[in-house]
Symmetry: C2
Subunit: 337 residues, 2 copies
């Protein structure tokens, strides 16, 4: 398997990206192509022992930064690492593309100028995968489409279910719609319409779910529109950071609790590892003609390595082809037209 | 000042409701009218020393439970404590109504069969008030209207701003719209339209805000549609509970960290009190012709007492009349028609 890794993605590029790629090549035995500024990539590679590993490089003269407008980069930077990397997947030179870069740019370049949508896909969806009580749960859409339609979310449910089954190894994934209450009839007009559509499909659809039930966890795939999804994941992260800050301040506020905090250090380390999203590393952009895994800009090499692992699982699960097949059930459905 | 308190509101009614009312009468010197099942209220009162306090009772033969459908209780239970209590406010027999009961029923009875909307108000909004780094922040709408219009949210912004100024004592409250990004142009169609409207008003409107910025805190009033708002507060609460559970499990998983946890007990107590919503106790239903404060069903007497304090502040701030006046600026605005 050959994975193209964007060396110019993370905030501290190219070091975490290159090191993560080397770790993945060693751990999973895959061939890696690092795409980006070749001299800087070489310099980063030279800090490591890569004997026996298949690590290639591909030069990309243009660099996308976090402040770049997605609509702009497509035209103004056709030689970026993202563009070249995704074209390699498109041309069959590689099996997957992994990046920690600008989310909007990933979405725009994949959808509009390189891989493009799978036939029949109305809108691709950005996903997030979080460990919930030791189990990977996939959330979509977390930001690609701020104004969504029910037929788009219907496709997201199928794409998420296929991915959970094929890449995350979940048997008959439980699919739920995020809502403001469980009862039928709760929700806004959009999720009520989505609920009706999903009941009609051959999915393991369990209905609406509230935020606290996600954490039990009651579902494997959580479907929502991109505006709600983006606020959902940001609220969750903000609450965790907030509580962590408050705990830290209060433990340090008093000598006895400071000692207590030192003794509890191992426990806090285990807490961090349980809620750490770096263990997943990245999540797919679903609905495009190729495996694209996007990780966080703040990723370190451990997160990059795990994002590459996610790409490997997505390729092994044949997720792109399986999504194409999964969506076929909509073709016989007059509502899906 | 006379406050009607629903004795049949909390999950453990009437004990926390009655005890909280007695605490409030003692601490704030207000007259209390407890409405509900008179024999049970009397029994609860008799457990306390109420010498020198003005505590009256009013019998309500019907009881609303959490499972009651809001649309149903209005017609089927016209003699409920909520109905009678709110009618007392309407008739001028009391200055405010406080309840820990069924949210949907509070909203329906206030809006449709007792107090009704302030003239010109399109939709009342449910609010939540949270302590954020020691400062009260008001969120609305948190669930009254799952499908909202921009002109409703425009009114929510004004109502929230008036309340923050008059009841929470905030000078020129900073009003923000919750969105998936700060930049102009971010957001879904609804919040973009709301943003345009709010820029045109005489509000201290600071634009879009992301969840993490709420916690800095950058704003005093956070405006959102009822579907997003309900998911926002539930996600925040769920994340806090989740992290608390994980920390507890990991501290208990090992003898050294268990000792550390014991030594940090004071710190954790301070953390709990800092994030404790019982200190606020309740938040208003805004847009109806009277002060209605709704607290959580799980409230204890401390929370009930604080909800009554919230009612006192709302009455002292003349919030209902000030909201009426605040909304007048929309009348000269052709968009507000």
């Amino acid at each position: 398997m050959r994975i193209v890794v964007d060396a110019m993605g993370s905030d501290k590029r190219p070091l975490p990206d290159v090191e993560g790629a080397i770790l993945a090549a060693r751990e999973y035995g895959v061939a890696i192509i690092l795409v980006g500024d070749k001299p800087r990539i070489r310099q980063a590679i030279n800090q490591h022992d890569t004997a026996g590993l298949t690590i290639e490089t591909r030069h990309a003269p243009e660099e996308i930064v976090m402040s770049d407008k997605p609509s702009h980069v497509m035209k103004s930077k056709p030689q970026s690492s993202m563009h070249i990397g995704m074209m390699m997947v498109k041309n069959g030179e590689a099996d997957a593309f992994v990046t920690m870069g600008n989310t909007g740019a990933v979405h725009a370049i994949a959808t509009l100028s390189t891989l493009r949508r799978i036939a029949g896909v109305k809108r691709p969806a950005l996903t997030a995968i979080y460990p919930v009580r030791g189990q990977e749960t996939i959330f979509l859409d977390v930001g690609a489409n701020a104004d969504s339609r029910a037929d788009w979310l219907e496709q997201f449910a199928i794409m998420g279910s296929v991915y959970a089954e094929r890449a995350l190894g979940r048997h008959k994934p439980r699919v739920a719609t995020l809502s403001n209450g469980e009862e039928e009839g709760k929700g806004n007009q959009l999720v009520r319409e989505v609920q009706e559509r999903l009941h009609a499909l051959t999915l393991n659809y369990i209905g609406h779910i509230e935020p606290k039930e996600i954490l039990e966890p009651r579902a494997d795939v959580i479907v929502m529109d991109g505006f709600v999804g983006n606020i959902f994941i940001k609220t969750f992260e903000a609450a965790i950071v907030y509580l962590g800050d408050v705990i830290r301040e209060e433990i340090r506020a008093n000598p006895v609790s400071t000692v207590g905090g030192v003794l509890s250090r191992g426990a806090f380390r285990r807490v961090r590892s349980r809620i750490d999203t770096r263990g997943v590393g990245g999540a797919p952009l679903l609905g495009v003609n190729g495996v694209v895994i996007k990780g966080h800009g703040s990723s370190d090499s451990f997160a990059v390595k795990n994002a590459i692992h996610q790409a490997i699982r997505a390729v092994q699960g044949n997720t792109v082809e399986e999504i194409r097949r999964g969506l076929e059930q909509l073709k016989t459905d007059p509502q899906g037209a």
